[in-house]
Subunit: 597 residues, 2 copies
């Protein structure tokens, strides 16, 4: 099977080169994006995966006559290396020292007179604008399309609505808040193409992207109108009525380009250059003065309402109960009965689906054993699914979409003997997660201030994890959400977001040793206000996740007394929160695994 | 005396209002700056202090017909409040919640048609450019000048040179490095007005600003010329010969404006808008395309050469020996013989001046007892100098200029009984300083990543210090130097600087309780490379300062085992480094105060 796939990639790249030649294109860029800059994309948009054979969720392919190269990030280095083997495609490990990014690669290789091609609808405006300053571009066509005979169609799942009560804000209130931000920026129009922002604004959901409850759509908000571009086949009379009632004008999804050419535009147009695609940007560029700024919906959406938070806390607890029971089962039965990664993922998914209010998974469950867990976003599948025995670490990163929350949680458990090194890594990661969750900080801090609190216990040992420490999470929406995050890298060009009360964020340090083991311990926490005094407003976090941390893998000797206190305090909370959902032997077990050490 | 001063400020503001009226100015801004945006300024430039009576080193006065307001930062809140009492000048505490900055104040109070006045030579271009977008400006004149009858003249101290050996780089090598940066930016000319940058570039020094060994000067560097504008009366035949030998054209200081109007300009002009004054900016604005970017000299100067580092290490040790002996004496004699803040400062200054190679102090010694130390930059003087007894905390922040280093160090010692709260604060500050110095981080971190390592022990208790954690330090140059710093606040508009091997930086957490006590523990550390492995290049710090931390004020019970280890390791190093300079009873004392706890 693997060999076939390799040949496939070679053949497809060759086919693309032929089409490039016909179109007069020297370098063709295939990012991983839909028309909306979504992180995860529907089947129709998986062109990069189709062409290269690399199935990770993030990556960009650049093809020239001479070379084919793929850029991906640290989560996927191992997977990409494996999947690209024999394809002739060169892997560029993003973020590693001395590895050029795509821009630098083009600067070095492409002459200024050469033509850079890409499908303008799947390229963000920001990068397109940078490219157009240096190169001639060909962006109007999806050049590779003819190669993909059995390409899946655009999704058009049924649109449904969330009540204002459930969201804590009505559409009218949200539009009012957005228009206030527009007023502040002096913008007469706001073009949003980011799907979760649009879902949030109109209190709607759908299922056009696996695990992301969104509908393919755009919206143009003006002072006195709100126009939603959506596939009419995704609407019922009921949803159409809902839009009418909320004074939202509905137009066909595919008509946006033409609409932007002809609609009345008075005053400045606000768009987000990192989200809006280059094709749309070229449409609005001609229509008036532009403001390139993050959508106002991003920050509004990130600060959860009290109603959302109440619901989130409830579902995180139910979700924690299920994961805890699942982990009990795995630990008890590993080595006793046959199990493999995929089987365990399916078992957990089934257990989660029995929670009242369950809608979907929030992402494909990562169920990874031993060295497979060293690939941070490894996914077992029908072909690769390691057998699990009573030995080493098992990692499971999973989450659900519920009618009232989106969850995300990772635990790693020891199924049998582990080495001293594994134990040390596990302990450092656990301490890192708990330290960050326990930190107090003055209002005004961003994720860049806090990231080191989690990373320092590892950095102190010369270790690191090559991913961010935390990301925002949607409410019945995408499991990855901005604008805040916990990262340390300095990027002069990107704005940071101050952590606000009511935001929720993941706290997920990890440790990965290729060929050996992968560890990640992830809780979701909410940002809360602490004391306010003469020094300012102090902020902190509160756990939303209550799942035991495996004491069998903890090395108490390498912990500070305060780390032990934090672990015990967390386990006491886990015990108290979860106990009502456990009984008999399982309850005893809960008490045991959350005992003070 | 105090009452006279108050009347003085009132009279002077009234006089200024009269001059403003004559000049048709509605709001007049008096920053604290010289023509070069220096942090500390010579006597000629202390107009804000002359007008307001507030003598702190940082502050901006804004006067309108209706109001007079002064902005200053957390270091000076207490002092400014005291000095402004009765002056009618309103104090704006910068950085406090709800306190508008000057821009916001003007936005709220000044109409768009009103005229904002300031002396363009002492206003940075950046702020001037912001103002000119909204207001009409009057910037050609130093309007307040006629009020100041006995204004000191411009300093013109003798210029002297540092050998290339002492600096580790010749002028030619430095000009080459600067011209490479100009090439990178596509700049044909570089206008530098920042004094320490100019001193660094030409390996020269002078004493035009107290404690800052700089000469009032400007320079214009082009591809094949370097023109230095300097007061000819500050030069001797020898220094003139030095400039000639190094192919530096010397012109009169005051002739820069006229030169910029008439000299040949081909290509883009690089200037630093936060340093170059508005008047000069208006001169070059007409002459061609501008690049507003931090001077290339800033980063080059911050990374010390191996020769500089070797010399710095040597002088920091000698400086540490003197401070340690001084603190021994104070602790032994407090309560036994009469002493006051000023007397102690003079004693320390005298001791330091006996070090071979001593040139000057690097700033006025801060010698502060009990509640006086709560004013972070308090300075005792002939009128205020508290008597010191065997009780409470004594803080001393001081440093020297040597022929081979600029030092800066703060210690706080307990002279007798202290409260539990004081002990806790002292311990947290000591742990904070040592934790930061001991932290390991991946290359790429900036000061904003690291600041929290020092601040977290205090934040965890709901405490904070209202100043940065660290600043760069010059080499026989300014005690405060950029471009790197250790701060947490997010300022989207300011660029951060990655910490590089060979930079030196202060590590100075503190804790201040108004009316009670002030604590600061400051070491200077150098940035060093640690291990490089698959995770990247790890970086760390190495202490330059070796002065005991007062164990009498330490509460071991509130420390983590790792904090105790760090304290003991530091004291072991202090003991080893200082022992050769101590003998007899003093050596025994050194061993005792650096004992393991």
């Amino acid at each position: 099977m693997v060999i076939d796939m390799e040949n496939m990639a070679k053949q497809r790249i060759a086919g693309l080169r032929k089409l490039m030649k016909e179109a007069g294109i020297d370098y063709y860029i295939v990012p991983t994006a839909d028309f909306h800059g979504s992180e995860y994309v529907g089947g129709y948009f998986k062109m990069r995966s189709f062409l290269s054979g690399f199935t990770g969720s993030a990556g960009t392919l650049v093809v020239s006559e001479r070379e084919a190269c793929l850029w991906t990030d640290g989560r996927y280095f191992t997977q990409a290396q494996a999947q690209l083997e024999g394809s002739g495609i060169v892997l560029y490990r993003m973020g590693e020292e001395g590895v050029p990014d795509i821009w630098e690669y083009l600067e070095k290789n492409a002459g200024k007179r050469q033509i850079i091609g890409f499908d303008g609808q799947v390229m963000d405006a920001e990068f397109g604008k940078k490219l157009e300053q240096r190169y001639q571009l060909s962006y109007e066509k999806d050049v590779a399309a003819p190669l993909w005979q059995d390409r899946p169609p655009l999704s058009a799942t049924a649109v449904w609505t969330l009540s204002a009560e459930r969201c804590g804000m009505s559409v009218a209130e949200k539009l009012k808040a957005v228009r206030e931000k527009m007023e502040e920026q002096g913008a007469a129009h706001l073009l949003i193409s980011k799907l979760d922002d649009i879902m949030w604004l109109y209190n709607i959901r759908a299922n056009d992207v696996d695990c992301n409850p969104v509908a393919l759509s755009y919206t143009l908000v003006s002072k006195d109108s709100a126009v939603l571009f959506i596939q009419s086949r995704a609407l019922t009379d009921e949803t159409a009525g809902y839009f009418a009632q909320n004074h939202i004008t509905v137009k066909e999804y595919s008509s946006l380009g033409a609409y932007l050419e002809s609609c009345e535009i008075k005053g400045r147009i606000w768009y987000s250059g990192k989200d809006v695609n280059y094709f749309l940007y070229k449409c609005i560029e001609k229509r008036g003065e532009l403001i390139d700024r993050e959508n106002p919906t991003e920050l509004l959406k990130a600060v959860k309402t009290p109603e959302e938070l109440e619901s989130i806390r409830k579902y995180y607890l139910l979700d924690s109960v299920v994961l805890t029971k699942f982990l009990f089962w795995v630990k008890e039965n590993a080595g006793r009965e046959p199990m493999d990664e995929l089987g365990l993922a399916r078992r957990l998914d089934r257990m989660r689906s029995e929670i009242d209010g369950f809608l979907d998974l929030s992402f494909e469950t990562i169920s990874a054993y031993k060295s497979n867990a060293a690939m941070a976003h490894y996914s077992a599948n029908g072909e690769h699914s390691a057998k699990i025995t009573a030995d080493g670490f098992y990692l499971v990163d999973s989450g659900g979409q519920y009618m009232g929350a989106t969850t995300d949680v990772t635990r790693t458990i020891a199924l049998g003997s582990i080495t001293d090194e594994m134990r040390l890594h596990f302990t450092k990661v656990a301490c890192a997660m708990l330290r960050l969750a326990d930190t107090k900080f003055l209002y005004g801090c961003t994720g860049r201030n806090l990231d080191i609190i989690a990373r320092e216990p590892l950095w102190q040992c010369g270790l690191d994890y090559k991913h961010g420490t935390g990301h925002g999470i949607g409410y019945v929406l995408n499991v990855h959400e901005g604008p805040h995050s916990l990262r340390w890298q300095y990027k002069p060009e990107s704005r940071e977001t101050v952590l606000e009360e009511g935001m929720i964020v993941s706290d997920e340090p990890g440790m990965y040793v290729q060929g050996s083991h992968g560890i990640r311990t992830e809780n979701i926490v909410e940002v809360v206000k602490e004391q306010k005094n003469e020094y300012g407003q102090f902020m902190g976090f509160r756990h939303l996740t209550y799942v035991p941390i495996d004491l069998d893998a903890i090395d108490i000797g390498s912990m500070e007394p305060s780390d032990i206190e934090r672990l015990n305090a967390y386990h006491k909370a886990v015990r108290e929160k979860l106990s009502p959902y456990f009984e008999g032997e399982e309850l005893e077990r809960l008490k045991n695994v959350t005992r003070a050490v």
